[in-house]
């Protein structure tokens, strides 16, 4: 309940405030958002599996985001930022799909 409310509040805040993304953050924000989504779906799946732990969730969430951004940052420094960003997005996308599939199996048994 609180979680859904929090999500809603975040979305509304983002819509209302419309802050500018700082320039240095601009290449990393989309990656970070996708990584966060992956962590959220992973947490939901773990919850449905009955093995959810909020400490693990928070740690995994933060490290997910930080590592995704760090990989892209490193890629930028090495001159392969674009490709590495694509790679991270692909991996995270696959994980999101598999997590959502597991959630779906739990909820609908299908």
């Amino acid at each position: 309940m609180i979680a859904a409310l929090g999500l809603l509040v975040g979305i509304v805040l983002g819509l209302v405030l419309q802050p500018d993304v700082p320039l240095w953050l601009e290449p990393y924000l989309p990656i970070a958002v996708v990584a966060a989504l992956d962590a959220v779906f992973g947490g939901l799946r773990a919850y449905l599996d009955g093995i959810f732990d909020d400490k693990v969730f928070v740690v995994s969430f933060i490290s997910n985001v930080v590592i995704a951004a760090a990989i892209v940052f490193l890629g930028d420094k090495l001159g392969v930022g674009g490709q590495l960003a694509t790679a991270v997005i692909v991996v995270l996308g696959i994980r999101i799909f598999s997590n959502v599939a597991a959630i779906r199996r739990h909820l609908f048994h299908a």
């Binding site: 979680a3 975040g10 500018d20 919850y47 009955g50 909020d54 490290s63 739990h106």
Partner: protein, 264 residues
């Protein structure tokens, strides 16, 4: 990457598949409890995290829509974009140059055509007047030869005409009826004088377009047309005018034998 998502082990998942009636019910119950149960500290933390996610996602969505296309690009991408732009600029400039050249060609072509057309139209008028297929008007003289004694001969008329031509006559007309041109023939029959087969009667009125003074003077000299007409008992008068109108035209201008030689 850390592994909240990886933690459920495969065995558990496989187990879930066969007997999933309970499993599904359990999952839904768990969700229901989470939604309705008393919030714990963990719930608040998760809510906070999710608020952050939602916020970041919306910010990103909006900055993506606002777009600034180039703001988020890396240096390499920018260089590529720039290269693409400059090469397409070059292409466009070449195209402009080509089109401009074509435009110039067409314009000079058009003006040449225009000049040729104007020249042709002018020529057509000049030649039409000289050949007698067009009416004409302009300054000139009107010459009246009266022939009371009936002694004016074709040869005298012809001489008169030759003098007028020598004086620069551009169009000649007899009695407002017959256009006198280069091919015109003067003949004498029992009825009188004919020009191009048409009988004309005295007094002969000759309309001539040309320089009035020159034309008028051309007939008056010792043993000239004026004197010869008077010698046979007629009179020759010339009246200068600024507006001689010649309306008759040569009827048949088709050539039967001669054709134009286009090659020359």
């Amino acid at each position: 990457m850390p592994d909240q998502p990886e933690t459920p082990d495969p065995s558990q998942e496989q187990a879930a598949a066969p007997d999933s009636g309970d499993e599904t019910r359990g999952s839904r119950e768990r969700l229901w409890r989470a939604a309705t149960g008393r919030p714990t500290r963990g719930h608040w933390i998760i809510g906070l995290v999710l608020a952050g996610v939602g916020f970041a996602a919306m910010v990103q969505v909006q900055s993506n829509e606002r777009d600034d296309q180039y703001a988020g690009l890396r240096q390499g991408d920018l260089v590529r974009v720039f290269d693409g732009l400059s090469s397409s600029t070059q292409r466009a400039e070449r195209e402009i140059e080509r089109l401009r050249a074509a435009q110039q060609d067409l314009q000079s072509d058009t003006s040449q055509r225009q000049a040729a057309l104007e020249q042709a139209q002018q020529d057509r008028q000049v030649y039409g007047i000289l050949a007698g297929v067009l009416g004409a008007q302009g300054p000139g003289v009107r010459i009246t030869i009266s022939d009371d004694a009936g002694e004016v001969r074709a040869s005298l008329l012809l001489d008169t005409i030759q003098e007028l031509r020598a004086a620069g006559a551009e169009a000649i007309e007899f009695n407002d009826q017959v256009r006198f041109v280069a091919q015109s023939a003067v003949g004498e029959t029992a009825q009188g004088i004919t020009i191009d087969g048409r009988l004309i009667e005295a007094p002969y009125e000759i309309d001539v377009i040309g320089d009035p003074a020159t034309l008028a003077d051309a007939l008056v000299f010792p043993d000239g047309p004026a004197e010869r007409v008077e010698r046979v008992g007629g009179t020759l008068e010339s009246v200068r005018s600024d507006d001689i109108v010649i309306e008759s035209v040569v009827s048949d201008t088709e050539t039967d034998f001669a054709e134009s030689d286009e090659d020359q």
